[in-house]
């Protein structure tokens, strides 16, 4: 028996018929896998096996230190989505619960090479030169978190200065403590600015601009 339900596996096959360009997934785990690392790897092996256009490469966080540094990976399990470049899309922690939908939405987005954000929203951020690091702290039972993570990933794809991480707080409780997370989705931008809740594109862009003003 696989990680995902038979019914969902069949649905995924149909969904993946819409893939256009190749999507390369990189996962970081380690030789002695944590429970969630193993589950994440098994999930990715199963899902990527359903579509020829999706490839999977697995690195060892300890033994492949140079790769971890190259992709700025500081914790595992970690997932990166690569299209025609590394967009800075990251998942830290297993994409379980509602985040599984986000993962699949991200596959489709990267395969289309289209973030789908309106031009007028992206243009407000076009002058950004300094790096912007967005962390979306989530819990798997949260119905609003998936939307916030996908939105952050859309901005990462649209603007090269932006990188966006999903951080699953129950797997990284020290980060929940560090950022005083008591409500999710909590969006932390450049460590200095935070906001709780999912929001539309325009407001999300405004929060990024607010964070840059604080930098």
């Amino acid at each position: 028996m696989g990680t995902i339900a038979d019914k969902d596996r069949e649905r995924l096959k149909t969904i993946f018929e819409a893939l256009i360009h190749p999507v390369h997934i990189i996962m970081f785990t380690q030789e002695f896998e944590c429970e969630f690392c193993r589950m994440t790897r098994e999930l990715l092996e199963e899902v990527t096996g359903l579509a020829e256009k999706i490839s999977l490469e697995i690195f060892d966080f300890v033994n492949d230190k140079d790769q971890a540094q190259k992709y700025r990976i500081d914790k595992i399990p970690a997932i990166l989505l690569i299209g025609d470049r590394d967009y800075g899309i990251r998942f830290f922690g297993m994409p379980g619960g509602y985040e599984f939908t986000t993962l699949i939405q991200d596959f489709l987005m990267v395969s289309r090479r289209d973030h789908g954000l309106p031009h007028e929203v992206v243009s407000t951020l076009s002058g950004i030169e300094n790096p912007v690091h967005i962390q979306v702290m989530i819990s798997p039972g949260c119905p609003y978190c998936a939307q916030a993570v996908h939105m952050a990933h859309r901005f990462a794809m649209a603007v090269s200065a932006i990188t966006a991480d999903m951080v699953e707080t129950t797997e990284f409780p020290y980060l929940a403590t560090k950022y005083n997370v008591q409500g999710v989705p909590k969006i932390i931008i450049n460590e200095k600015h935070s906001v709780v809740g999912s929001m539309p594109e325009k407001e999300f862009a405004q929060e990024i601009l607010k964070a840059l003003q604080k930098s």
């Binding site: 999930l43 509602y98 939908t101 949260c142 008591q182 409500g183 999710v184 989705p185 325009k202």
Partner: protein, 328 residues
């Protein structure tokens, strides 16, 4: 951590989006049981309809288990929403998600629907089923501490209050369902209800009252929420004696009721004093061609099964209206 499973909340094939250049027979606004049920009945009548919503499921998604929907003794709320959505998607009608409706206007005998992002859609009829949002607690501290100890979504935030002290504000079904979610993380719970006694269903009350780390304070008012970086204490008043006490807590979950999302029709349809859309027994508003169903209406008892029934009724009424006015 309780394993959450993998939720695949995507259609098999991307639904086509509603066309801004088409005059639809029926536009359905909302993504809860009323709107979804309306889609099924409208699609089976072969109406050219489109659905516009922020998301599917509405407030049901904030609940863990549903125990009072016909046919299911107990079902995970996410499963129920997924089944509803799958049923809706099977009709392959145009669906726009992620869209908040800003205003609905009458235009040349039809309706013009404007979204927050500037899109416009036209319909000969509209079913407005935008549901309700959380009633906010408006006391000192209640805004500053949202996300820093104050929560309106237990399924989202309960994991952060494992074995911590929490208050639940409210005495109805939502408050008691919240208690069940917090019992799972072994929180120490104080339930505070403004009214006397408790309004939740007896079965829910029985289940919660068996928990040994809970106390019940009815006829109490929460006066203010205090803390520095996050919630540290709550000051409450006994409404019988007038005595005020401060309780040290880590969090407060607010379930004090809901408010109708009737803003988009406030300048069009007749609302009651609390902002609910007034409808008759066939879901007609005072504006011909504008129908409403579900929690946004003045119909009592906000329940999934009642909303689903009214959604069906609204779609059939819209169909009758289109026939009677020779619009189809």
């Amino acid at each position: 951590m309780e394993f959450p499973g993998f939720i695949l909340n995507l259609p098999q094939t991307e639904a086509h989006k509603p066309d801004q250049g088409i005059l639809y027979d029926l536009l359905i606004v909302g993504g809860g049981p009323a709107a979804m049920s309306a889609v099924i009945y409208a699609a089976r009548k072969m109406l050219n309809c489109a659905l516009i919503t922020i998301d599917f499921g509405g407030l049901i998604r904030e609940t863990s288990e549903i125990e009072n929907y016909l046919g299911f003794q107990s079902i995970d709320a996410r499963d129920l929403v997924a089944r509803f959505e799958e049923h809706v998607r099977s009709f392959r009608i145009p669906v726009l998600t992620g869209a908040a409706v800003k205003e609905i206007r009458k235009q040349n005998g039809d309706f013009l629907l404007l979204t927050e992002s500037g899109q416009q859609f036209s319909g000969k009829t509209v079913i407005f089923a935008a549901g309700e949002g959380h009633r906010q607690l408006l006391i000192p501290g209640s805004k500053e501490f949202v996300g820093r100890g104050i929560s309106y979504c237990t399924t989202c935030d309960a994991p952060f209050f494992r074995e911590k002290k929490v208050i639940i504000a409210g005495g109805g079904n939502s408050a008691f369902t919240t208690a069940i979610d917090l019992m799972r993380v072994h929180a120490e719970i104080t339930m505070i209800n403004f009214a006397e006694d408790w309004q939740a269903d007896g079965t829910l009350q029985q289940r919660v009252k068996k928990y040994d780390r809970i106390q019940f304070l009815d006829h109490h008012e929460i006066l203010r929420i205090e803390g520095s970086k996050s919630v540290e204490s709550v000051v409450i008043k006994n409404r019988s004696t007038g005595q005020e006490v401060s309780i040290q807590v880590d969090g407060i979950f607010i379930e004090i009721g809901l408010v109708p999302n009737s803003g988009p029709v406030k300048n069009l349809a007749q609302l009651n004093r609390i902002g609910e859309v007034i409808i008759d027994c066939t879901c007609r508003t005072n504006i011909p061609g504008l129908f409403s169903a579900g929690d946004v209406t003045a119909i009592p008892h906000k329940q999934i099964i009642i909303s689903a029934g009214d959604g069906a009724k609204a779609a059939l009424s819209a169909y009758d209206y289109l026939i009677e006015t020779a619009k189809i």
